[in-house]
Symmetry: C2
Subunit: 209 residues, 2 copies
């Protein structure tokens, strides 16, 4: 697929630009409404003063996520994909022009809300994070093995809602482990703050690599 | 796009087969874990004795949804798409061979959990239903105008969880109405049964057309 090949070449260029400027880049993927933007709001607040963080956020339409995140960083830009279910490397490359890479320590890309399409598009990131939420049900890893295989970390969000939903944690973890026995999982609540310190530590340890 | 053109031709053949056998076909779309299968479990129970209902359910992997639904109908088959984020008409056509169309009154297709990709693939259905859930947040219609534009009905599921989540109903409806002022919305809870009667009435009225 020629389009993929070109994408991957641009992704490599992106990675080179990020490396040149010493910017760690994380590609955050997850279902629509699993809590990506809310967690990023918390993350930006937590890292304020410690790291200079930028965000590129992708959606088919609207600038709502960028406007939410703009309260916490001025290095944020919205990418609208039109009809496309995933961000692509060329969009990220153009997004770099809207940011000051030289000033950044960390760039987080919030991908389009989708468990499938973003997995196969390299954006030039250093790490991929797959987010699930307890409200989606415990069978999502089993049904979406490719995002599990591609992820360097899994976040299980909205754990504050566990008392109110049927979510079989054992099953979730068993299914996940049968696909990737080595994959780290951090339980988070973007509302209560649970897991936020662990998530931020993971980012900081990645930066030290 | 030649693949799309062929798909649409097969979709028309599917529709013709369904019409020949007097089967109403609904294409149910929504995010991963928004509650499609749970609502279908309720729907099959509700319609038991009144209508003969079949289901074709699509996922990248697993037969979990088909196995769940098999408790309520023996006319159910799982389609695994591999890596594809949407069902296609040829898969539905092959699915017909696994069912007895002549015996069916209603065929529901549970599409792959995804708010974007399924929208542009005609499967041969008579109606498209777009499902959102309150746990995804109130901004999903605004962010996903194409599923709103394509839907004949929208279901807003998991309303039993409204006391526990931040969901601005006014905003959800305002955004929806600005895209489609004519679109019917039924609030449902696949857990409490709220809205189930309305949903089943909608199906039955479609059948009478
Ligand atoms: N209870 C609870 N609600 C959460 C949590 N995280 C996010 N939410 C809610 O979930 C809804 C969606 O949150 P977002 O952060 O916008 O989700 P998203 O993944 O960025 O959504 P998209 O970018 O549209 O795919 C909002 O109503 C949030 O308040 C959480 O940890 N717990
Ligand atoms: N509280 C509540 N939970 C629900 C409701 N409907 C579904 N759920 C729960 O949501 C989770 C996912 O439900 P499913 O019916 O499997 O969702 P789905 O849309 O079929 O998921 P995929 O087919 O994987 O995309 C399960 O834990 C259900 O119990 C509802 O109305 N209220
Ligand atoms: Mg978001
Ligand atoms: Mg399902």
């Amino acid at each position: 697929e020629n389009v993929k090949k070109i994408n991957d070449e641009v992704a490599d260029l992106n990675r080179a630009s990020l490396n040149r400027h010493g910017v760690l880049c994380v590609n955050l993927m997850g279902s629509p409404g699993c809590g990506k933007t809310t967690l990023l709001e918390d993350t930006l607040k937590k890292l304020s003063g410690a790291m200079t963080v930028g965000v590129l956020t992708g959606d088919l339409a609207t600038t709502r996520d960028a406007r939410r995140l703009a309260h916490y960083t001025d290095q944020v830009a919205q990418i609208n994909t039109g009809r496309a279910c995933h961000l692509e490397a060329n969009q990220i490359r153009k997004g770099f022009d809207l940011l000051d890479l030289a000033a950044l320590d960390l760039l987080i890309i919030e991908n389009v809300g989708n468990l499938i399409c973003p997995v196969s598009w390299d954006l030039g990131q250093h790490a991929r994070v797959g987010m699930f939420s307890v409200t989606e049900g415990d069978d999502k890893p089993a049904k979406h093995p490719y995002i599990v295989l591609a992820s360097d970390l899994v976040l299980l969000n909205k754990v504050d809602l566990l008392p109110y939903v049927t979510f079989d944690s054992d099953r979730f973890y068993a299914d996940l482990r049968s696909i990737r026995d080595d994959l780290e999982v951090i339980q988070t609540s973007a509302i209560s703050g649970e897991g936020l310190d662990k998530w931020v530590s993971w980012i900081r340890s990645l930066r030290d690599i």
